[in-house]
Symmetry: C2
């Protein structure tokens, strides 16, 4: 029996219309799909792809607990990888649904690390939150020889300050409960008027506003963009 192929399929930032044609076709033809879900709760990835999933598809759900400790989440990926391996061994392809892009802060890399040495894995890139937020904010990220720095919000304030200073464009992901700290850092650098807050980009609940007006408690799916580039007119 030839084992199946594991597809890690990026679904884009949330609007189902931003799914690629390749991802749509793979999902529409899938016999087995897999995806992470908040333990006991919803799956954002499945919600994006909902209109594409065949009724007949078998669904492997990975219940990933949101804890500070890494072990519970890793145990969920261990179990998910085992279930996926079993399906692949039976000859079925498995389509793993990934919000955004599978390799850009995505949990698919945990499955990739567990399975890529034993099975054929194809990663289908998706529209990342990075460019989706820039599009929705109307802010070009980078032109010509400008540098872009991508920073996760949980980093310490001093490190954030040092790195924000050295780049023309900065995207800060995973803002969540770190918003007040991040706003303080950006304000002290004199960049508050160049900073935009984007929440749930491309979804119906999307919000785009100056960082100065952003809520102190941001959702996980939010981003801060700081663009310092010159006017690109010339």
């Amino acid at each position: 029996m030839t084992p199946g192929t594991l597809y890690g399929v990026g679904l884009g930032p949330g609007d189902p219309d931003l799914v690629t044609r390749k991802a749509a076709r793979l999902i529409g033809n899938a016999r087995v799909i897999a995806y992470p879900a908040l333990a006991g709760g919803d799956s954002f990835a499945r919600a994006i792809a909902a209109d594409l999933i065949p009724e007949t598809a078998r669904e492997i759900v990975m219940d990933v607990p949101m804890t500070q400790a890494r072990e519970p989440a890793q145990a969920a990926y261990d179990a998910g990888a085992a279930a996926i391996a079993e399906a692949l061994d039976s000859g079925a392809d498995v389509v793993c649904l990934c919000e955004g892009d599978p390799f850009f802060y995505g949990s698919f890399m945990y499955l990739h690390a567990r399975l890529a040495d034993r099975y054929t894995v194809e990663v289908v890139p998706g529209v990342s939150s990075l460019t989706a937020c820039a599009a929705r904010a109307g802010l070009p990220l980078a032109a010509r020889n400008e540098r872009v720095t991508i920073l996760p919000g949980p980093l310490p304030a001093e490190e954030l300050a040092r790195r924000i200073e050295g780049a023309e464009s900065v995207a800060i992901l995973k803002v969540g409960r770190h918003l007040a700290k991040l706003r303080g850092v950006i304000d002290r650098l004199g960049l508050l008027d160049r900073a935009v807050y984007v929440e749930r980009a491309t979804l119906p609940q999307e919000r785009v506003c100056p960082l100065a007006e952003a809520p102190d408690n941001a959702p996980y799916f939010s981003m801060i963009l700081v663009t310092k580039g010159a006017d690109p007119w010339l």
Copy 2:
């Protein structure tokens, strides 16, 4: 007469299958499309979208010369913006085709700067070369609290070295004739065995290899990825 809307539509890295459903629909319904082309030559953006463009669509071609001086290219965008504005004023929507993502080192920002204050502009994000190259190389870009730095290849060697040292994942765009310089910088940092070269990702002529084996003269559409992150298994 209500003016039309200008759509800046990201087409992804090259494989027409990586066009989003939204981009495909906008192009398929377009009465007027616009795109850049190398002066007197081909348009990569048009080639990606070729199977979607209606035969009846009017095409506004911006012949952009590849010169060191900026003025000739800027004059091409001036002329393109004027032609697009005329179409918008007549009430037609205009779909501008953009390789990759419109706001990620894309030329659409030059049109955006010229037209966004006078017309409704919607940017439709696309799969960027960044995540497409990572997908094709099988290299996760970033997990958890890792930082990603995006650097254009033409930057001076000293600046590149300083910035590569400070990030876990580095993507170097616009490699082209800078490849030998970039390889030297990465080698001196002791990172040559962590560096992968990707050329024309997702196209039939795609090439992925260790940077050590990359050609000295790389095409413009090539990238170097350096990933220093720990094994993401745990």
